[in-house]
Amino acid sequence: MAFDYDQYIRGGKLPHIWCPGCTYGIVFKSLLRAVDTMKIAKDDVALVSGIGCASRLPGYVDFNTLHTTHGRALGFATGIKMAKPDKRVIVVSGDGDATAIGGNHFIHACRRNIDITVLVFNNYIYGMTGGQYSPTTPSGHLATTMPYGNIDPSFNIPDLAKGAGASFVARGTAYHAAGLDRLIIEAMQHKGLSVVEIINACPTTHGRRNKFKSPTDMLLWMKDTFITAVAFDKLPPEKTAGKLPMGVLYKKEGLPEYCETYYGLVERLKKQREGRA
């Protein structure tokens, strides 16, 4: 039986704002399938976002949804999670939102290891404002604010997350949608801060300026570029050029989760008081 997306989509809120050829719709559906597989009650999910094309996603979903300020979704989400540690908090962000203006919040959320799942929609560009370069725009690519080609070195988001202390780091792509469901599920099952970088295509503001003749070309680029981490690790170094690993890239179980540690402290203080009484 076909999956019933309507049970999660708010009536009357579609069509979405995303351009033809944008891959966000693919990821949107993957997220809904993942939440459904996890059997989480809609009342128990907070979906939080910042600013940008990806950040419009929560508005379409029938959860507790919060569309905040640029880059700050993780600050809001951290407050929600600390207030209600038994609830599920998911953050949807973009490459600029998460790693430029929100970079500080991103690394510190990773460091705290608070139980939030962060989905970073990486389309390599600022799409909503019309195609300015982001911290993940490949070098040499054209952007409206890099009209002679991008001279900025770029971030590798999984490396950034791992380096900052995230206990679960994965990468998926809009092309490999079935695998993406599994990655999002595994990220949500993980206790602690989980990051999934999701490779996306923005044909409108990135692709057409950078020799991708159609949205399909961008999906084919994903197909050719991303291989499983297992396969990637088996490649001899000289054959890794032009390839990038996807799947679960890093996972460490058993690290203290922030809310558990904090409310463990609350319990300890309570016992001390009772002991004295």
Partner: protein, 376 residues
């Protein structure tokens, strides 16, 4: 009889917050407000509340809004540079109507300025700091006891009107220690946000048909709704059209301005027969009170108007004073900010003279007395 304590203003602020039911603090260290965070760091884990020291001021403000949306009474405390950094998210809370309390222990500025000295030069920023038109409630206590009770009032107003409330006092009052009485629980009234009583299917988070302050559902309580910093319809979803944006912004302003009788609070000292009035708040209000006592001993008819609510501005009160005194003296630790509001309300009906100082020291009573003699 409550508990008698010797506390500094910042500590009294934290005690007031706890009395009001605050169970969430998100902050970032900054002089001269840090003691509020330190006090909450010690006390909140003891009472089961959440304490977060965030990575920066912006995240601290964000966490407070998130905590409140999830049902907590949330507080943050900061000073000058940190207050500047919080502005965008404060505007978010104003537009999305999420209650929270922001303490600004004012120091000298601009920039790093005088971190360890008092200032009153953020008072217009309290009103206009975030971009766009927006409602503002800002309280200005001057005594340690008052910081306690005004912090309780700040939470109550925030919950009642579903809007952020700023408490602005200065470094001197924040760090000064005074004897205060913390009332027993139940002595001071505590207000909690009005929750919806309708079924979730009929809930409109920004329904303006039954009053200017719509009931607020907390996240995870069965009312799944959307909160956005975009202008929105009564259902919370983005609206980009006339006339909704205009009428909704008018409502946001109105829910504060139309309730000035409830929100505006002030103290008058010997104003009955005053020929000269002093308009002063915070530490300058304390100096002014001493100046009034000294002037009265010399037979000078001077009184003090000391606002405890600065925003919304006590326009009617200042206008009435202006029509019956020769002059209003405005001492403030800035190069002249709140004096423009006083002049605006006086509308030329009396002289308005300022005493301005920004060198990190307070305006002393002798300076105020000299100015009173000059204008009487």
């Amino acid at each position: 009889m409550g508990k008698i304590k010797l506390l500094q203003g910042n500590e009294a602020c934290a005690e007031g917050a706890l009395y009001a039911g605050c169970n969430f603090f998100g902050g970032y260290p900054i002089t001269p407000s840090t003691e509020v965070a330190e006090y909450m760091a010690r006390r909140l884990p003891q009472v089961g509340g959440a304490f977060l020291q965030m990575e920066d001021e912006i995240a601290a403000m964000a966490s407070v809004i998130g905590g409140s949306l999830a049902g907590c009474k949330a507080l943050t405390a900061t000073s000058g540079p940190g207050f500047s950094l919080k502005q965008e998210n404060m505007g978010f809370a104003m537009l999305t109507e999420i209650p929270c309390v922001i303490v600004n222990v004012m120091r000298g500025g601009p920039s790093t300025g005088v971190p360890t000295g008092p200032g009153q030069s953020d008072i217009m920023q309290c009103k206009w700091g975030t971009h766009g038109d927006h409602p503002v409630i800002c309280l200005t206590p001057a005594y340690v006891q008052e910081i306690f009770s005004e912090t309780v009032r700040a939470f109550n107003l925030s919950e009642k009107y579903r809007t952020p409330v700023i408490i602005a006092f200065d470094e001197i009052v924040g760090h000064m220690r005074e004897r205060i009485e913390i009332p027993d629980p139940g002595v001071l009234p505590i207000v909690n946000r009005t929750k919806p009583t309708c079924p979730p299917s009929g809930y409109l988070p920004y329904d303006d048909t039954k009053g200017d302050v719509p009931p607020m559902a907390n996240f995870f309580e069965g009312y799944r709704y959307h909160v956005t910093g975009l202008n929105h319809g009564t259902d919370g979803f983005p609206v980009n059209a006339s006339p909704r944006i205009h009428t909704d912004e008018l409502r946001l302003i109105r829910k504060v301005e139309a309730n000035k009788a409830d929100i505006v609070k002030f103290e008058e000292t010997l104003m009955g027969d005053a020929e000269v009035a002093i308009f002063a708040y915070g530490v300058s209000g304390r100096s002014a009170k001493t100046a009034v006592e000294a002037a009265r001993k010399e037979g000078i008819k001077v009184g003090l108007f000391r606002p405890l609510t600065m925003w919304p501005f006590p326009e009617e009160q200042v206008a009435a004073i202006a029509s019956r005194v020769k002059a209003i003296v405005v001492p403030e630790l800035s190069l002249g900010q709140i004096i423009f509001e006083v002049e605006r309300c006086a509308r030329g009906r009396c002289k308005v003279e300022g005493i301005f100082r920004v060198d990190g020291d307070p305006i002393n009573p002798a300076q105020i007395l000299a100015k009173v003699k000059e204008v009487k």
